[in-house]
Symmetry: C2
Subunit: 581 residues, 2 copies
């Protein structure tokens, strides 16, 4: 068993992750989060919220997961969100054409469908299932389709990313933030990708959870007001250039901006925030890097893009967060398709005096000449440039026909005008988190198999312990009466109730030896176990055992809930929180 299998086996057995629809044979690309998995995931999301919503102030919104066609025409997903699909003519099994040839050519995922067909033909690639002949490769759109309403209804799609919800609501958001840049919005929710044949288990899901922020900033100012917070933070950068040599560099974010490795402060700040978040939830810092998109892989409109990548035992470096400067691409696309103006009025610090070319059609002359069309003619004239109006003959196209306008019917002049602001289209900075991959990485980095230790006698030869950070551990406290005797069970139940009232998740376990119960809790990463014994009855104290060190302290029952809360969410030190045993 490799590390992935060990983690997945534990995840399944203890209630973190289950294959979806298991009693019906399952379906690739879908996983259920069990009781512990769902709780761990919620805690990861909650920390994300604390960082992005409370502290950064990018308020959360919630748009539907079903979207209408226009939205995804604008976003480009209707046109370009696809994988090359190749079906066997014989058994009708479907394959990703690039996967079929990735042993034959390098960078198969960059090939055009015609090139893929050529490689398949030249190398005599057959169906891996039945050996049959393969059909022609075609682009398969990866959005799940559905119809909204009855009949053929209105075409709908399950959203492939949460981002579009924020772009579509841009004008509402701008008003909410009273048109003051920068502002941002976040979403945590489901997104969908109808993979042709998902491999890699929980790493590549057809339904997954994203946490995304879309931050709208002034294109002329990409400094970050709070950049000092991360200026001295060192991160592992694997820049475009570094990828040519294959050597990662550790660098402070201020250095990276100064050298031009990262395009600007605002992006660098986001990298700092991602680094902070991932380490806080328990990602090992030596297994975390930021990889820059190479020029040819970056979207054509993007200025700079970095992926946070986490090293995993089976899949190597896995992309878990994308951080991009998407410029004004998305807002322009939605403005154009929806025919609305998506911009912000930015007041100048001082009004500007500018020379402006002004066309003044004379309606008293145009009226008699063009009758009902006079207004349209005037509008057309206003859009003309000076050179056109200075020609001997002024001609316009009106209702598809050319017409001449007498020179005396239109005047033009250059005027001095004072303007106090302008409409600008903000640029978008987008950190986009794949929560399921982060969840799995947190599990894998927390997993440890320890040799047997003599302190606690259990008849097993290895201790499996999930070293979750206290903040994310699903079960926070185990309450364990030493024996199943009434005089121990009663105080145990009271202690359990008092800890619950503090909002902590408690597991109560009274079956098996105490050593076995410690092991069971180590395996799900419960940071603290409270044991109730005969001293509890005598002097109202209990022991608390620390998962990682397996050390124990003895503390009074009275304020046990506050004490545990402080250990989990505060700065309390375990060893000084009670009397060492």
């Amino acid at each position: 068993m490799d590390r992935y299998e060990q983690v997945i086996e534990l995840a399944k057995r203890r209630g973190f992750l289950w294959k979806s629809f298991e009693i019906y044979g399952g379906t690739a690309g879908f996983y259920d989060y069990g009781p512990l998995g769902s709780t761990l995931k919620r805690r990861i999301e909650q920390i994300w919220r604390e960082i992005y919503v409370i502290h950064e102030g990018y308020m959360e919104i919630e748009a539907p997961t079903i979207g209408i066609e226009e939205v995804f025409v604008a976003s480009g997903h209707v046109g370009g969100f696809s994988d090359p699909l190749c079906e066997c003519k014989c058994c009708e099994e479907a394959f990703r054409a690039d996967h079929l040839v990735d042993d034959i050519v390098t960078c198969a995922d960059g090939l055009h469908i015609k090139e893929l067909d050529r490689v398949i033909a030249e190398n005599g690639v057959k169906c891996p299932e039945c050996g049959g002949e393969l059909g022609k490769t075609y682009e398969f759109n990866l959005m799940f389709k559905t119809n909204i309403g009855p009949g053929s209804g209105r075409q709908g799609y399950m959203r492939p990313e949460t981002a579009q919800g924020m772009f579509v609501d841009f004008m509402r958001l701008a008003r909410f933030y009273r048109d003051k840049l920068p502002f941002g919005a976040t979403q945590i929710g489901k997104s969908y990708r109808n993979e042709i044949s998902p491999r890699q288990g929980v790493i590549r899901l057809r339904e997954f959870t994203q946490a995304e922020a879309e931050i709208f900033i002034d294109p002329s100012n990409k400094e970050h007001p709070n950049f000092q917070r991360f200026a001295a933070t060192s991160v592992n950068l694997y820049s475009d250039e570094a990828q040519d040599t294959g050597v990662m560099e550790s660098m402070t974010l201020s250095e990276a901006v100064r050298r031009g490795t990262i395009a600007h402060e605002f992006l660098a700040y986001q990298i700092g925030l991602t680094d902070y978040f991932l380490k806080r939830i328990g990602i090992a810092s030596d297994k975390l890097r930021f990889r820059q998109h190479k020029k040819d892989e970056m979207a054509h409109y993007a200025i700079d893009c970095w992926d946070a990548e986490i090293e995993t035992a089976r899949f190597g470096w896995v992309e878990v967060v994308g951080i991009a400067d998407r410029t004004d691409y998305d807002l322009k696309a939605h403005a154009s398709i929806s025919n609305t103006e998506l911009s912000i009025y930015r007041e100048y610090t001082e009004p500007r005096i500018v020379r402006s070319f002004v066309v003044k059609p004379d309606m008293s002359k145009l009226g008699p000449l063009f009758k009902g069309k006079a207004k349209d003619v005037a509008e057309a004239l206003k859009l003309m440039r000076q050179e056109e109006l200075e020609k001997d003959r002024i001609t316009i196209i009106i209702d598809g026909e050319e017409a001449e306008v007498p020179k005396e019917a239109v005047d033009f002049t250059e005027e001095t005008v004072k303007i106090s602001g302008e409409n600008i289209i903000p640029h978008v900075i987008e950190p986009s988190y794949g929560i399921d991959r982060i969840f799995y990485s947190t599990m894998e980095h927390a997993f440890e198999e320890e040799k047997w230790r003599t302190e606690e006698e259990v008849d097993e030869d290895a201790r499996i312990v999930m070293r979750f950070k206290n903040e994310v551990a699903p079960v926070q406290v185990a309450v364990l009466p030493l024996l199943t005797r009434d005089e121990l069970i009663r105080p145990s139940r009271d202690i359990k109730a008092s800890i619950k009232r503090k909002g902590l998740l408690v597991a109560y376990d009274d079956s098996g030896t105490i050593g076995r119960r410690y092991r069971r809790n180590d395996e799900i990463g419960t940071p603290y176990s409270v044991t109730i014994d005969y001293d509890t009855v005598e002097n109202n104290t209990v022991t608390i055992r620390d998962r990682d060190s397996m050390k124990q302290i003895r503390v009074p029952v009275d304020n046990i809930a506050d004490l545990l809360y402080g250990l989990i969410y505060g700065d309390s030190e375990f060893e000084s929180a009670g009397e060492a045993l």
Copy 2:
């Protein structure tokens, strides 16, 4: 404007609710939660989690929103989740047939499609849009359909309820809870219903959020171990009988169980919990009732079912929670379709001695007679009843042919055996919450338009205030420097930062008169406003204003974050928290 319009207007203007895809003209049945709406919704969900997950101990799971066909065949949604659809032959507009005739007949939603067609024909009902002739009514399935994987792929549906995810995972859950009844699981997530033509705005959505618990209990014991908690709680009950007379009754839950109005304690406890939750988030107690399903509206398998209904200004009594005893229906259905056993082994408190009829085929005689089929013959014999085996001739059907078995080849006897337990199929108690309707009701019940008060001079004649409970108010604290002067802005920013560190959501507002800023915060329900003035600079104190009473107290800046946290989440009293002004 009625109350609904007032609430929706405020919701739209201030960022609670926006029509989805607004820049594309919108689509009926979809709403976006804006920054304040999403935050309010999260807080409602968080309280639900605290109650069901932390305190009741029903762990949360997360199954996909896309489901495979088998699941919804078992649940009955493929067969029976539909509305009667009628299309205009002329303009092709689609209508719910029962809506077309609900002015003509009573209980139109109970009519069969043939009856609907008859009513339409007899009354000459035409298309309300174009006056055209209407086509035949047919059942339209309300699940959104999609395909999983390429080609025609595998049929998938967007789930119409979260419940099925818990039923499908039953065996995994049972193992997680070590087979000890009662246990339960919860989900909070999106569900979908492809309405034919949704009316009623946010009350009837095509994509909505449910919070559901599925609690598995021993069918022979429907008492609740903690029933005392709610025994003396009075709730408004509108029982099956009461609906005949039209008179609601206020009754304690113990009385309701004793009288047999509510079927059993476990269900009554759930009603108590729902009552507690809804009041805690701010639902007015005189606008809350529990309505029992009448015998003819209840699902045939259910034992008892109650809806929590909330009274709203425009829609009257709206169902927001369903609480049902679904018996073993769901588990049996999934067991049958998936061909798995979904049961729990229940050990008897004492082993039971029972008389058991045992058939003993003699293989030494069957072998030579039936050769390769001997085993099948033996299995068939084991299933026979005593009377059949006592007949003169013993005949069985094997491979479609009748065969005689010599009487000496099979022995049977009645034996005394000791059995220590049995497999039972638990019953399911289901509280199912419609979060969007609860969200809207919370908004409507919090909304108040007050006459102008002299204490605060603002040039408006009414104060609009959202009287949210402190726990659910989206923005928890407003920080307001009296003037936009550096010496006031600096301490304001520090105060804002300290409150954020406590995890509270803060709005900072420095534009307009202080009275106007108070009003803006009243309108979104911010419970406390902190004002920084020149006394702050002098003696390091600030004022806190209470939204509801508009009273102010003066407090030191030093522990302001703890103080506000205590006011919002603790038991602190506003007036005694500082010096009254």
